[in-house]
């Protein structure tokens, strides 16, 4: 069984480093090869990292409420650079204020994300989804 590669990072002008470390640890423990590009990651950095490492998934975190602005156009850029079919997961505090999460999920699915996770998600649930989506 070939090890699957994930690109993990915190998108935009977001400097939340602790959760990023925890996710790195959790996904590595779960048997994935984690390419952690850290905080303050731009869309281009996600894409470039995925191209060079032949990654299977982009795992995008956003904790500071600007996730919607930062994530817009990511799928289109992937398509443009030849990795249009890559899996994209996103999670964290994606928007500000008390918004209904279902509408948030809709918005991110429309942007081309495959899975969208609400605040407080434990790593186990995306790990289980990854296994399902990647057929492992």
């Amino acid at each position: 069984m070939e090890q699957k590669t994930l690109v993990l990072g915190v998108i935009g002008s977001d400097v939340h480093a602790v959760g990023n470390r925890i996710l790195d640890f959790a996904f590595t423990q779960a048997g994935f090869k984690v390419i952690n590009i850290g905080v303050l990651a731009t869309q281009e950095e996600f894409i470039h990292a995925a191209i060079e490492t032949n990654a299977d998934v982009l795992l995008v975190s956003s904790l500071y409420g600007h996730g919607e602005m930062d994530c817009r156009g990511l799928r289109e850029k992937c398509q443009e650079t030849g990795i249009g079919n890559i899996l994209m997961y996103v999670g964290g505090n994606l928007v500000i204020g008390k918004q209904d999460f279902e509408s948030v999920r809709e918005r991110f699915l429309d942007m081309g994300f495959n899975r969208v996770y609400p605040p407080g998600t434990m790593p186990e649930s995306p790990i289980a989804d990854l296994r399902r989506d990647l057929g492992i």
């Binding site: 002008s13 400097v15 990292a49 191209i51 060079e52 490492t53 032949n54 990654a55 500071y64």
Partner: protein
């Protein structure tokens, strides 16, 4: 007397340095025009005869040379993503002392192949994919390159999983094809040493002969490396020391030439202030950058254009006066300043070349505003705390005011995001021996180090 003969076959001058090994002294230095069209030995002999021979004749225990003659080591690098493996490949080639003619990213096209043919590189460096990462690009580019109608040496420094396979494809057309370690084994990890050694190996097994420099090898032992690699090697030795002999610590060497300005930094360049985040590809500890548009003679026009208002403000001259002086430089690349104005112009041009080349060499600091306040992001090396800047190259050696030119390397408070040295001491390679000492390092590193410490003088 045990003498060592050290030769630098430059693009224009052949420079010889004779060293007394036991006394650790320079016996003599001389230069004569490089004679690549006829026989490379003519220029060497012409330089050598300028140094008075001792009565008992020369007793050279070693004869070593480096070369940037016949266009230097010309390379084309290719990688996958421009900012990642293509950039890593470019840095590996620069570190090996090459002139990088072009860098390609993603899959090579037929137009790219045409460019390769027309620019006639000496070596191709092929990278792409981290180890275990993207495999297609290396294989496809190998396939593409095997369609070239010319035969070239190729160094492969890409995804290790498919490197051998790519080599087999390339060997149908090219020779030699050498596999080195990946320039980027993991994402964001730069590993250029193996590729550098492979390039150097190909240089002295194949390129020397192809350039007709092997005529000199009957007289010499060996042309060891390209001249810029010798300078970088000398810089590493001088910075880091050898055994019990201490080095000078982290440093920068600025070499202002007629066509290019080279900057070498031997420094880690970690952030000097707390809570600064590092972004981008890590830089090599021994980093070399080459600015093809910043030179005193062949590239003087480009330099005036790039410096723009900065040059005019520095000189306080009219456009016409600058244009007139620039004309003189272009007319005669060998010109040594005759008048006060010419000297002033040369100093100003040198100062601009140093300033701009160091601007591009050092890292930058960027302020990122987050909901939690301002955060600093650093790209490249923070050299603000660097203690030593050494100048070398014609313009610095022949001008009375080398520090005035070197001051261009210093931090400018008006551009606080460019991380140039803030309080460095200036030194001058007065005898122009750095390349020679890089060669001497190969056989007597302690001596080379002590001699540099003696002959590189503080300004």
């Amino acid at each position: 007397m045990q003498a060592v003969l050290l030769i630098d076959f430059g693009s224009t001058y052949t420079k010889v340095t004779i060293v007394d090994l036991a006394r650790e002294e320079i016996i003599g230095t001389a230069q004569a025009g490089t004679t690549i069209e006829t026989n490379i030995m003519d220029g060497l002999k012409a330089a050598l005869t300028q140094i008075p021979e001792p009565l008992e004749g020369w007793n050279f225990v070693r004869k070593l040379a480096c070369s940037s003659a016949a266009g230097g080591l010309k390379m084309i690098a290719s990688g996958l993503v421009k900012e990642l493996t293509a950039e890593a490949a470019r840095r590996a080639a620069l570190g090996a002392g090459a002139r990088v003619l072009q860098v390609f990213s993603y899959e090579l096209t037929t137009q790219d192949l045409d460019k390769i043919i027309s620019s006639q590189p000496d070596i191709l460096l092929l990278a792409g994919g981290t180890d275990g990462g993207n495999k297609e690009v290396l294989l496809k580019n190998a396939e593409m390159l095997s369609r070239l109608t010319i035969r070239l040496p190729v160094v492969i420094a890409g995804n290790k999983v498919v490197s051998e396979q790519a080599a087999d494809i390339l060997r149908k057309q090219h020779d030699p094809v050498v596999v080195s370690e990946n320039v980027m084994p993991e994402l964001g990890v730069l590993s250029v040493e193996s590729a550098r050694l492979a390039i150097r190996d190909v240089f002295f097994t194949h390129i020397i002969k192809a350039k007709g420099l092997d005529k000199a090898e009957e007289f010499l032992e060996r042309i060891m490396m390209p001249t810029p690699a010798a300078v970088l090697s000398a810089a590493e030795l001088l910075a880091q020391g050898h055994g019990s002999e201490r080095g000078m610590g982290e440093m920068m060497i600025v070499d202002v030439g007629g066509a290019t300005t080279d900057v070498h930094s031997i420094a880690k360049g970690d952030p000097s202030k707390p809570s600064v985040m590092l972004k981008g590809l890590p830089e090599p500890f021994a980093k070399r950058s080459v600015e093809g548009d910043l030179g005193m003679r062949y590239s003087s026009e480009a330099l005036v254009e790039t410096a723009g208002r900065r040059l005019f403000n520095y000189l306080g001259w009219t456009d016409d006066k600058v244009a007139y002086q620039l004309g003189l430089c272009k007319e005669d690349p060998w010109r040594i300043p005759q008048t006060q104005d010419e000297t002033k112009f040369d100093v100003a041009m040198g100062r601009m070349a140093v300033s701009l080349a160091v601007d591009r060499h050092v890292g930058t600091l960027e302020v990122v505003y987050t909901p939690f306040g301002a955060t600093y992001v650093q790209h490249g090396k923070d050299l603000t705390q660097l203690p030593v800047v050494i100048g070398t190259g014609g313009v610095l050696l022949y001008h009375p005011d080398a520090s005035e030119i070197l001051r261009g390397a210093v931090f400018n408070p008006e551009e606080p995001t460019i991380l140039k040295p803030q309080k460095a001491h200036f030194y001058l390679d007065k005898e122009y021996i750095l390349a020679a000492m890089g060669l001497l390092r190969e056989v007597a590193p302690q001596v080379a180090l002590r001699m540099m410490k003696k002959y590189v003088i503080k300004l």
